[in-house]
Symmetry: C2
Subunit: 357 residues, 2 copies
């Protein structure tokens, strides 16, 4: 049987461990922040953040109980951490000299390029350069996937992508279950870029839920108009990020592509992200005119909002690209409005007149 | 000043009359079913179905008070009726020998081709052939547009399309206001097809709201997965309808197109349609396993569900195209599942395994 190691026992890592355990041997390794979770799983209690019990065939261990050989014979390693856990996860792989056939990546984000005038890089690009044993066999995972729903075995459909499509296909065969449905997308960098950008764009779309109130709820037209605009801006930004990516070997001819922005990792994931979660919550506060620093200092104090981090990484390259003409700011009014919030603490303002004709 | 006549005083016709009245002279003509609405407007009461008062500069008249010259000098005629009113509206135009510069079309639907093996036609195509004074100057209107929200002056963004793009541009100049934002789409038949298909596809997407319940609401992953699939199926079906359209003069080279399915008339309008309304309501009943005939005979007795009508018109051509290979049924599992409900009264069943890889 294939051995799959999941690093990180948070809601997403633990849920993927459950999915993987249907057809594989699974070791779930808690990060230094996950000791209480590992203890709960060992005691056969439900996962404290998922409120779902994991299958007993999953072996769960604390990070400090990990032995050398437990990682070195892994066929697949899943990075199931959120952004703050990436350093620990990479360090763990490198320290144990693991050489898995596949590294699967759930964590999404952008990192500003060293040269400020360039487009940001995706996590996938950065991570592959930080592995001691460099692997091109990284599989990105995108698409609508609220962890608890998946842990409850409600169906969803996600996209896998890799520079070498057959690697994504290999992982698909290992992970597909009756409720976890996988499509292969022929656009690795596009998937990674869209999956990060949707958190950022979600903030502006979600502001519409509170900006235009009706007696019986919220006005749906403005939400839909900005949802559409958001998908189109994700497409423009991800094309820009792809064009700047140092390794373009995965770029198939344009006509063969389903654009990731218009598929599960883009519009599909934006759909669930706008429906709830921290990025959407921030947007709803901004929609009534509150300022970012005020919200992050009070109601959302201490909460990590990934879309804000993504915006910060996007900023220098975006400003430079608008100046040098690589990007047209008039085509990206939503991006521009969210970045003004993040950079200047301006009130969020989306004048529909600014939307392109 | 430009004279705009709106035929049909229902929620959509009356709302567009309000929008048009910002910069034009507007005559609002009630259909034979709208006498009570016209009476209310004349009495300066709120529109009974919108619960919004219309501006006083709109002249509202009953259908039987319409004089010959009131239509013959119209610069623009807006067909603001729903499907059952189309015959009355066309008859009114023809009887009064009106020759407007522009006919704008809100009504959306498909009509089975005379040859059963062909793709259905859009309303726009059929209507232009039924006008005594044939006009190529028809402008289709698509995109997210809940009438009451627009009447309350909440912002939205819609697409106009015409075979001759400059005609759409002319109408845009007349109708744009601070809250009604118009983009021009270079794909007339595509816009018309998408605007009809979204009602049909909405039924299947909305079934996911009730098929997978959570304690605190509904599972969002299945909705998003089928929303994404629905947009892609609208794209496939609208391409098929476009390819079969007798007049393809409006078809710009593919690379110049924003595909209507992935824009306001497709994904944007599907977003609001799934959020509420009759098509979505039907879908939510079907999601718990109820049968179409049961729902339409009880809870939704007497309610016109446009998506069901669209499905009926789609059926013969769809079955023929799947047989002769013009369409691949494996690429259209959602369409196929909704058509099985309409044709055979089957319980709605969407096995995610059937979704293409």
């Amino acid at each position: 049987m294939t051995k799959i190691v999941v690093l990180g026992a948070g809601v997403m890592g633990s849920t993927l461990a459950k999915v993987a355990s249907e057809n594989n041997n699974v070791l779930l390794v808690g990060s230094p922040l996950d000791n209480h979770i590992i203890d709960a799983i060992e005691n056969q209690s439900p996962h404290p953040d998922l409120d779902v019990s994991l299958p007993r065939n999953i072996i769960a261990i604390r990070h400090d109980n990990l032995n050398q050989n437990q990682l070195s014979d892994a066929d697949v390693i899943v990075l199931g951490v959120s952004s703050p856990g990436v350093t620990w996860a990479l360090d763990t792989i490198n320290r144990h000299q693991a050489r898995p056939n596949i590294v699967a990546l759930v964590t999404k984000g952008l990192v500003s390029a060293a040269e400020a005038q360039c487009a940001p890089q995706t996590y996938a690009e950065v991570i592959s350069s930080q592995l001691t044993e460099p692997t091109g066999r990284i599989v990105g995972i995108g698409g609508p996937c609220i962890a608890r729903e998946l842990a409850l075995e409600y169906p969803t459909r996600v996209s896998f992508a890799a520079k070498d499509k057959s690697v994504a296909d290999d992982l698909r065969r290992l992970l597909t279950t009756d409720y976890y449905h996988v499509t292969i997308l022929d656009d690795f960098t596009g998937l990674e870029a869209c999956a990060a950008l949707k958190n950022f764009i979600c903030i502006g779309v979600s502001a519409m839920f509170t900006a235009y109130k009706l007696d019986d709820g919220y006005a749906k037209n403005p939400v839909a108009a900005l949802f559409n605009q958001g998908v189109h801006e994700i497409a423009v930004l991800s094309q820009w990020i792809k064009a700047s990516a140092k390794d373009n070997s995965d770029a198939a001819p344009a006509e063969q592509h389903v654009d990731a922005a218009f598929d599960l990792a883009g519009l599909g994931d934006l759909h669930v992200t706008v429906g709830g979660g921290r990025n959407s919550r921030l947007g709803r506060y901004l929609g009534v005119g509150r300022l970012l620093r005020d919200v992050l200092g009070t109601d959302m104090r201490g909460v990590t909002v990934e879309g804000v981090d993504t915006g910060k990484q996007l900023l220098p390259g975006f400003r430079a690209a608008c100046t040098n003409g690589e990007l047209k700011e008039t085509e990206l009014p939503l991006t521009s409005a969210i970045l003004d919030v993040i950079e200047h603490n301006y009130a969020f303002s989306m004048n529909f007149n600014q939307l392109p004709h």
